[in-house]
Amino acid sequence: MTQDTLLQSGPVSPQRAMQLLNRGVTYLIIFVLCVLFGFPLFWTVMSSLKTIPEMFSFPPILVPSIPQWANYWTVLNIDYPVGQWFVNSVMIVILTTLGTLITASLVAYSLARFEYRGRDVLFMITLSTMMLPAQVTLIPQFVLFYRLGWINTHLPLWVPHWLGGGAFAIFLMRQFFLTLPRDLDEAALIDGAGYFRIFWSILMPLCKPVLATLAIITIIASWSDFLGPLIYLNTPEKFTVSVGLQFFNAVPEVGGEPMQHLLMAACVMSMVPIILMFFFGQRFFVQGIVMSGIKG
């Protein structure tokens, strides 16, 4: 570090040795962290392949002697409509994501490209909704959906997303629109294009990366949502994967037969789609978080 060590020469200078040691320690820490983050996941997958005696054996068994791949098939054919939960979740996720992408980009287009009275106030109100806890609006929303007769339907879970998609989505899209040159719009306007055409044919194609980001974030949030389905859904056929798992977890031995290995299989099945999505869309996802975080 000091002048002396810099001037010293030799096969391995103390500075170089110090660097190597640093590297080694860093790798060691990262290795420990990998175990800390990776082991619970590994253990969950292994548990989903165990038999019930293996699951409750003492001392615990790490790797099942014969992997019970059939657990994944069995879980879809038990008394609970597990397959239906997945169908429900997928439907809700698709409708939520479509609504968010379409309406948030329209609203963001308005906020980024049009001048009108109240626009900045609207934007400030939008941002401030991010600060308010969901609990405040939850109870009146429940009353509203109750009066509409929407309790125990999937409507409360996706319809609201078709009205702007929420503050975060609008904010993210607006920030992206602001980075696109305005000359594009004005040239198209002179050429006689209408505002919707400018939005749809010129700006939207340029928004593909941010739309991918928003889609991934929305899909993850919607798939994992627990409080919404917990409040609005009552019958097992209507459940999403999240509440279904909770239901499964809360009454594990309805037929007298323990099913914890199947619960673990269902857990893995609930994680896999989201993790795969992240692997394939990682670049977009990371960009989106960074964009919202830095400009926030």
Partner: protein, 324 residues
């Protein structure tokens, strides 16, 4: 702007009716008026959404807070009695609030500090950074219910692998984790820290670290600064805006903690993890005391708004903005 000005002569002199509309939308020419109107049209879904799902509910919930209301029937005005009951008649109110703060006090330093450490490690330009980053991030992707379920099994007092490991290294009497009254709160905190550390917070720190100019590190090296000095006098000050952003988000997240506690412990054992958000949920959606639940939600909102305000107010003392 150029387009807007060329648009004016085409439309001719605005008549009085159009100019009233123009004034209303904050425009000067017919062209600008038309454009402003389109602006409203495209913003309409969200304006509607704000009224139906935010404005209306905020007013309604504020009103419900002063009523007795059980979905069926109509709200009955009872004045301040919900708030009086919360502060002086509800034996779960103060403990659940205190527990939520205890959780936040443990969660925020570990989650934000841990995320910072992970980001610094990943910023060393080591081999396999992308793989590590993905692995650290995966816990954040696990749906909260699955997260709680898998940790319930990992932390099972007798057959769980965590206690087996602890017994293996010579701890003969490992804790009961989620099953024990003394350790349940710490266990729920640990689960949440595990899931949050490598998540969005870490990614935001990574981006922040990459924004620190290399010249500053070079300058510090020339001045003879070691690794610690560089961290203390370059990285940390340059990162304060990012730390601030992450802390604000962590406070909001911590005070709303719900799902992991609900699934893993249902607030137990003997109320050890009965957080404030759980209390609201039980009052409103299990006992259908919507009026009382609304009052509780406003207490939470007031606390959140207060803390956000305090943080913004005092941020000037420690947050360093480049060029500002």
């Amino acid at each position: 702007m150029a387009v807007a000005e060329t648009g004016a002569p085409v439309g001719g002199a605005p008549d009085s009716k159009a100019s009233l509309l123009s004034k209303l939308v904050g425009a000067q020419t017919p062209f600008q008026t038309k454009r402003a109107l389109w602006g409203y049209v495209y913003a309409a879904p969200w304006i509607l959404g704000l009224i139906i799902f935010w404005g209306g509910p905020i007013i309604a919930s504020f009103y419900f807070g002063f009523t007795e209301y059980a979905v069926i029937g109509s709200p009955k005005f009872t004045g301040l009695s919900n708030y009086i009951r919360a502060f002086s008649g509800d034996e779960l109110f103060w403990p659940s609030l205190g527990r939520t703060f205890t959780f936040a006090g443990m969660y925020i330093p570990f989650a934000v500090g841990g995320a910072l450490i992970l980001a610094i490690l990943l910023n060393q330009k080591l081999m396999g950074t992308t793989v590590f980053r993905t692995l650290f991030f995966v816990p954040h992707l696990i749906p909260a219910v699955a997260l709680a379920v898998l940790w319930t099994f990992l932390l099972a007092p007798r057959v769980g692998p965590v206690n087996e490991f602890l017994r293996g290294i010579g701890i003969s009497d490992p804790p009961g984790w989620l099953a024990s009254r003394d350790s349940a709160l710490a266990s729920v905190t640990m689960i949440n820290v595990w899931a949050a550390m490598g998540g969005n917070t870490m990614l935001i720190f990574l981006a922040g670290l990459q924004g620190v100019p290399q010249e500053l590190y070079d300058a510090a090296s020339i001045d003879g600064g070691g690794a610690w000095a560089k961290f203390r006098h370059v990285t940390l000050p340059m990162l304060t805006p990012t730390i601030f952003f992450n802390v604000v988000l962590a406070v909001i997240g911590a005070l709303k903690v719900f799902t992991t506690a609900w699934v893993a412990t249902q607030g137990g054992p003997s109320y050890a993890t009965w957080f404030f958000a759980l209390h609201i949920y039980f009052q409103a959606f299990q006992y259908f005391r919507l009026g009382y639940g609304s009052a509780l939600a406003w207490v939470l909102a007031a606390i959140l708004i207060f803390f956000t305000w305090v943080q913004v107010r005092y941020s000037r003392r420690w947050v360093h903005y480049e060029g500002g």
